[in-house]
């Protein structure tokens, strides 16, 4: 059996009378890159913060890197790199000063040379005296990634690290993540981007503080048992709302100019689209990850509404 970097059961976190995370289990094997997905407010950030000891765990148990998540937060923090969506280093320190500060807090041996080495690897060597606040979003996140991996953690927790970053910088960022993973680092990364989700070994999908599904991308698509039809053309736009209103249709949304219509029962779905839009040329397609997620999100939303 593979060793687990994260092995937690039944994590619960409440803020006042709101339950942010409601009994999440997570078993993340060492050396893998896992994607953490789910709508805003689904509890991704809260779960990550509980794992690295930044929030108290109200209920639940488990271990992280062999340490008890309830009692050994200090040890877990030492072996974890945690990076937030918002640049949480010091804008009014230079690039060099930020890295040097981190290196000093972790008491890294051969600090000066190591900081220089990190700067060179980052490609920020010639800009090291620039204030971190002057960097572009993409560079800021690369600097942050370098800073949180300086102490050579065993686990990386990345909370929407590429939000608001351009595609080129995102690709560079992910290359770096895979490079780190190839060196044995375990990574849990939350994201809203489907292309990033597809770069992960496995995906965990959260909604309303509960784990809805997990697995590889094909697994998740397969397990969703969703059927999707695709159509395009002028006539389609006019009937979109009608399609959405139909109860056999889980969701209808555009991918470029094409409309994807998905449902959980193939026969009913087919009947529905033929009834609402008989003149349109429908094609059966493999549902994409996005189709699945939108359907899951809608389903979770409906559950929540009916629950309330």
């Amino acid at each position: 059996m593979t060793e687990l970097a994260i092995d937690v059961q039944g994590l619960v976190k409440r803020f006042g009378d709101k339950v942010a995370v409601n009994g999440v289990d997570l078993q993340l094997p060492k050396g893998e890159v896992w994607g953490f997905l789910g709508p805003n407010g689904s509890g991704k950030t809260t779960t990550i913060r509980m794992i690295c000891g930044l929030l108290k765990i109200d209920k639940g148990s488990g271990q992280c890197l062999g340490f008890n998540v309830l009692t050994q937060a200090e040890q877990i923090r030492r072996l974890t790199g945690y990076m937030t969506q918002k640049f949480s280093f010091w804008n009014d320190l230079t690039i060099h000063e930020n890295l040097d500060f981190v290196a000093r807090l972790y008491q890294l041996p051969g600090r000066k040379a190591y900081v220089q080495q990190t700067l060179e690897k980052l490609g920020l060597h010639h800009r090291q005296k620039q204030l971190a606040g002057e960097l572009s979003g993409g560079w800021k996140q690369r600097l942050a990634l370098a800073a949180v991996t300086m102490h050579q953690p065993k686990l990386l927790l990345l909370d929407e690290p590429t939000a608001g970053v351009d595609p080129q910088a995102r690709r560079d960022f992910w290359d770096e993540i895979h490079h780190l993973s190839s060196q044995g680092l375990t990574v849990l990364v939350s994201t809203h981007y489907m292309d990033e989700a597809e770069r992960c070994d496995k995906i965990v999908y959260l909604a309303n503080g509960e784990l809805i599904t997990q697995g590889t991308v094909p697994d998740i698509i397969h397990n969703a048992k969703l059927f999707t039809y695709r159509a395009q053309g002028e006539g389609v736009r006019l009937i979109t709302e009608k399609l959405r209103a139909h109860e056999a249709i889980a969701h209808a949304s555009y991918f470029g100019a094409a409309l994807h219509v998905s449902g959980y029962h193939k026969a009913e779905l087919l009947q529905a689209i033929q009834q609402v839009a008989p003149d349109v040329d429908w094609q059966a397609v493999e549902p994409s990850l996005e189709d699945v997620f939108i359907a899951l999100m809608d389903k979770a939303g409906q559950d929540k509404r009916s629950y309330q």
Partner: protein, 383 residues
Amino acid sequence: MSLLPTGLMASLARLLAIANKELIQMRRDRMTFAMMLGIPMMQLVLFGYAINTDPKQLPTAVVAEEQSPIIRTLLNGLQNSGYYHLKYNLQDPAAADTLLAKGDVSFVVTFPSGFTRRLIKGERPQLLIEADASDPSASSNAISRAQTIIDSALTHELKGPLADLNPGLSPVELIIHRRYNPQGLTQYNIVPGLLGVIITMTMVMITGMAMTREVEQGTIENLLAMPAKPLEVMLGKIMPYVGVGAVQTAVILLAAYYLFAVPFAGSLTLLLASVGLFIIANLALGFTFSTLAKSQMQAMQLTFFFFLPSLLLSGFMFPFRGMPIWAQWLGEVLPLTHFLRIVRGVMLKNADFYTVAQELLAIVLFTLAVGLLAILRYKRTLD
């Protein structure tokens, strides 16, 4: 149709929209709202009740070797005037001197030996009133009234056969010593006091921002995720500002000496050690504020909330002993009160360590209490 032109109406509508938004935001920020109401209330109570520019009931020590009805009459006269509160009755002049140096009493009234006998013989004996003039405004009214009080007390006493002792000239020769500040120069009091006020103001505010800035900029998440213990964070954030305080101290002391010609009677080492302690006390308080406040704005408001009574109740602006007892007790909590006694004591009165030990202890206790609160309040998680 409106009476106003359309352009003006539109402008007014936008103006009202902005005013409404401000009102909503003001109401939402409870702390600011409380401050806006709280500070004027505090000012009202403090100014109204505690501050008294004609201080009365000033603590007084009496040194008299003998007891006599005439002395008792004179003491009653002083007491009944409302200015002098006779707290100590001593035989030993040295003990009275210590009380004056410590600031426990504002006046020492001394009846030399043979006072009664010489008075009855019509020899105009001397009556000595020594005043702590380090704060001239605290003692001036009591001093200026002294002669009148004594004369009118004696008018009642010297009747019948003794009446002719009471012609135009006062039967008692009143000697007044303005100790520590014979010329009654206010800067002798204000300049050393400013040292404490400036340190209080700047140190509390600077560290008040310490944690709130990390919270507002989101860097707190990183700081918490890294291995730094609360005490390390607190001391690390305080340390650089001890240096800033040291520079301030040097500038003020040099200015006091060279610009304002304030005498320096006591030990520089003792003064600097006290200043160091006082700086740390204020930095610790600032750090505590920054663990209590949710934003830099709130930290700033807490600073002012603390600064105001420090200014008004410490004896810096108004005579400490002139305040009602409850205000004096409130003043005793403030480190500035104790620091003012130390700095005035050491600079003007040549007070030694033992004289100011009590005040130093008070500042140490304040620092420990505030530091402990800060450590307890410092959250190691984002909860």
